[in-house]
Amino acid sequence: MAMIEFRNVSKWYGAFQVLKDCTTKVEKGEVIVVCGPSGSGKSTLIKCVNGLEPFQQGEVIVNDQSVGAKETDLPRLRSRIGMVFQHFELFPHMSVTDNLNLAQVKVLGRSREEATAKSMALLTRVGMESHAHKYPGQLSGGQQQRVAIARGLAMDPIAMLFDEPTSALDPEMINEVLDVMVGLAHDGMTMMCVSHEMGFARKVANRVIFMDRGEIVEDAPTEDFFGKPRSERAQQFLSKILHH
């Protein structure tokens, strides 16, 4: 059974359709990169996984639970899926440690000591242990994003979602974040990443999903996608971003 499954998902903003009949699967341990031109619906698609974006048609099944169903305990489901945002979204009024501790204590019911131990272990993993006492405003973009990844991991997630995690970063900081993500992928984390980092995709992705105008145009194993993309739109997109 797939970890995440989209079944004919459609979504409209008023009359404008942002997702058109999207169907795909993410198996346990798979790394999927979602790419496509801006406004193609890729962020919207991954936000359907944890119900941050409601949708009108179709079904999203995560770990055997239907995200849109009334009986689904959405906060509980969300606590099991890590999410990393384009603009980090660390809580500016809390120290790095408290950013990691908050949901562990409030949602998972861990003791403060237990949570802090977990947080420190994860901050070490992303190379941020020496900044634990600092506030997000004192960190660089790359450092903030690594903390944000650690914050997601602190909840022991069954999958991680990345929404353009490097596109708000200065170029010299992109790699420190990608390195952490590569490490995660090698450890077998199930990941769905909206990203334009094709080097990252080539290195760790099992499949690449290409979206355009709300449709999944291409959903292919990584070698096939880069080797011989079938659709013209994917070819155009690739030639645009690879030749600059």
Binding site: R78, R80, F85, H87, E89, M155
Partner: protein, 230 residues
């Protein structure tokens, strides 16, 4: 030009003015501020709710309170609260509320409408991504509000909340119309007893000015410090 005046009256009555009057004024201000901010925050959350049966009554309440003169509200509640209280607990006779609690309730309910508008702006000033991040971690609505949104909203709005409190501090002088001995009321009583209206009113004005102006200087400083943090 002050030759015909007797400023000694201030010295003679200072103990009474501050011990009785100013204590009442400051207590009323503090309680109404605390109550008003709590109720106002709940009203702001209700106004921003997507449930019509929550946001419509909250909006109606806020608009009503902001559209009637405070003096009218003071009279309303002073005479109505005993009856409303009796109706709530099912008593036969109007309950005795007393001037103090009647004014606390009045000012809390009135100021809540103003604090609500400030907190509404404050909640909206918190980036939407912050809410999404809290949700994505599995926080429910109240946890998200309590730990993520409201602390940031308060911090952003602190200068405005304090400015509103300075206004509240000045507005409490209106309770004098109920013959309550707040700072202003105490001064009026002394002034009338001793026939020293001009001296007392000058003195009262000076005291209100000094307190309000120093508080607004404090607010200005606070504003600058918040601007640096952000």
């Amino acid at each position: 030009m002050f030759s015909g005046f007797d400023f000694d009256v201030i010295q003679r009555s200072a103990g009474y003015l501050f011990r009785e009057g100013m204590t009442f004024t400051l207590t009323l201000t503090a309680l109404a501020m605390a109550g008003g901010i709590i109720l106002g925050t709940l009203l702001a959350m209700a106004r921003l709710s997507s449930h019509k049966w929550l946001n419509a009554p909250a909006a109606a309440y806020v608009n009503l309170m902001r559209s009637v003169p405070l003096l009218l509200v003071i009279f309303w509640f002073y005479f109505l609260v005993p009856y409303i209280g009796a109706w709530i607990i099912g008593a036969e006779d109007p309950i005795k509320v007393g001037a103090f609690w009647s004014s606390v309730i009045t000012f809390t309910l009135f100021e809540a409408a103003y604090y609500a508008e400030i907190m509404r702006a404050g909640i909206q000033s918190v980036a939407r991504g912050q809410v999404a991040a809290g949700q994505a971690l599995g926080l429910n609505y109240w946890q998200n509000m309590g730990h993520i949104v409201l602390p940031q909203a308060f911090r952003n709005m602190l200068p405005v909340l304090l400015t509103q409190t300075i206004i509240l501090f000045q507005d409490t002088s209106l309770v004098t119309v109920l013959s309550i001995t707040d700072f202003f009321g105490a001064a009026v009583k002394v002034a009338q007893r001793d026939g020293r209206l001009v001296e007392m009113y000058l003195f009262v004005a000076a005291v209100y000015f000094i307190i309000s102006f120093s508080l607004s200087l404090l607010v200005k400083q606070l504003q600058q410090r918040i601007a640096i943090i952000q």
